[in-house]
């Protein structure tokens, strides 16, 4: 078994500390939101998780494209890693959003553009994983996965805009001018800390999953070698 690089261990420590700091600040040092109360604190984690989800899917599409050009298996592994992390965090985003929506919108779910788009993204990348599992030849699996990761990512904005024609009730956080989410300074600071903590966590998880993938590959090569030899 390969030894874990020191830089990765440092990154582990950094993500744990940043997450802990973000939690402490969110729970003890941000003011209570005027109308929503304590449940508004979900928002810090919710946006951060959704952000990491998008980051994962973006990485999957970008690395898939690089794979098609360069044909080195490591880019395929990175693309797969992006999908896995993206799926987990998009689900965290959906669940945390539901927890927030129940008291605030008085419903767990509505077919709002953002909600529907994230649900569709989950379905796209679940399909991606089924496609991977259905293919045995590694080269073909890598090519098809890259093609699907690209095609899937490209249609996400279209899905969003097509649902958007129905009026949305989801608050616009970035660039919105309404007073609904006019955050004061401690809130803003906590928000950015959370975002930073999750981004570091993303890089950390990405690295771990990548290393795991390399080990799986090594194991498979060794197994194939021993079977062929005996």
């Amino acid at each position: 078994m390969r030894k874990q690089p020191l830089r990765l261990t440092l990154l582990d420590a950094a993500s744990v500390m940043l997450l802990a700091a973000a939690l402490v600040i969110v729970f003890f040092f941000t003011p209570l939101e005027e109308t929503m109360g304590a449940v508004q604190k979900v928002f810090y984690m919710h946006i951060s998780a959704a952000w990491v989800g998008m980051l994962g899917f973006l990485a999957a599409a970008v690395f898939g494209g690089i794979y098609l050009k360069k044909r080195e298996p490591r880019w395929d592994l990175m693309s797969e890693t992006g999908v896995e992390i993206g799926l987990v965090f998009t689900l965290v985003g959906i669940v945390s959003g539901s927890i927030w929506a129940k008291p605030v919108w008085n419903t767990w779910w509505t077919w709002d553009p953002r909600l529907t788009t994230s649900a569709v993204m989950v379905l796209i990348y679940l399909a991606y994983q089924m496609l991977r599992r259905g293919l045995d030849d590694p080269g073909r699996r890598a090519r098809y996965s890259a093609v699907y990761a690209l095609a899937g990512f490209v249609t996400v904005p279209l899905t969003f805009f097509s649902i958007r024609l129905f009026r949305t009730i989801h608050p616009v956080v970035v660039g919105g001018s309404s007073g609904m989410f006019a955050m004061d300074k401690p809130m803003l600071a906590a928000f950015f800390l959370c975002l930073a903590a999750f981004t570091v966590l993303f890089v950390d998880l990405f690295w771990h999953r990548y290393m795991l993938g390399r080990q799986i590959d090594t194991l498979e090569t060794l197994e194939a070698g021993s079977n062929g030899g005996s």
Binding site: I124, A127, M130, R140, Y148, A151, L158, L165
Partner: protein, 227 residues
């Protein structure tokens, strides 16, 4: 001969091959038509449409039937290529492979048009809606074209998987959701008596999807079929 003329000629040749195959076997469109008829029958009883139909529901029934029937056709059109290594033969031809993509996609679009041409009068007979409408024809042309292009690209991949036919809808539906949304919404608006200009946004959406999948197919089909 310029490359463009050559490209179009290959596309038409592939289309003609698929049409001839279909004309002699009548397997693909036949299956799609019977399926569409059964789907209308089931929708009618499941939703109790005689008493509770609205323009929006009729549009939904039309498109869901068309999209499901389209999936059957897409699978069959690729499965036919797999038998006897036909597709390998096609790939050996010294032509631009994206022309093969467009030829197959056009063939699949045409078979969806046949189903639509059958569904529209049927729905007009069953429900008193003005479905034989130029605007709706335009929406069907745009919607089925985009759906077939996305489906042809994906079917070329799913046919190689262990699950085969079962995987195509799972891969295709989440990607094609914008097509379904735009088509159902705009068809519903026209059925309710709005002019085509009011559905402009949705027609633009369908056109955008068509362009995106034409470009994706053109760029990515090569990677799917190489070996």
């Amino acid at each position: 001969m310029t490359p463009l003329v050559n490209f179009i000629r290959v596309t038409i040749d592939i289309l003609r091959k698929d049409l001839m195959l279909e004309w002699r076997s009548r397997e693909q469109v036949g299956g799609m038509l019977v399926f569409a008829l059964l789907a209308i029958l089931m929708f009618n009883f499941a939703l109790e449409l005689e008493s509770s139909w609205t323009a929006g529901i009729v549009a939904g029934v039309l498109w869901v039937t068309l999209v499901f029937a389209g999936t059957i056709g897409l699978n069959q059109s690729m499965a036919a290529e797999k038998v006897n290594g036909c597709f390998d033969g096609l790939l050996l031809a010294p032509v631009d492979r994206s022309a093969i993509f467009f030829g197959k996609a056009l063939g699949n679009t045409l078979s969806m048009w046949v189903v639509a041409g059958f569904l529209m009068p049927l729905l007009a007979v069953l429900y008193p809606v003005n479905i034989l409408h130029g605007g709706i024809v335009l929406i069907i042309v745009l919607g089925t074209l985009g759906y077939s292009m996305a489906g042809t690209l994906l079917a070329a991949m799913t046919i190689q998987t262990r699950a085969r036919d079962a995987l195509l809808p799972i891969l295709l539906f989440p990607l094609a959701l914008p097509v379904l949304l735009a088509a159902v919404r705009s068809t519903g608006m026209l059925l309710s008596g709005f002019p085509l200009t009011d559905a402009r946004f949705w027609v633009d959406m369908l056109t955008a999807f068509d362009v995106i999948f034409a470009v994706l197919g053109w760029m990515l089909f090569d990677y799917v079929v190489e070996e």
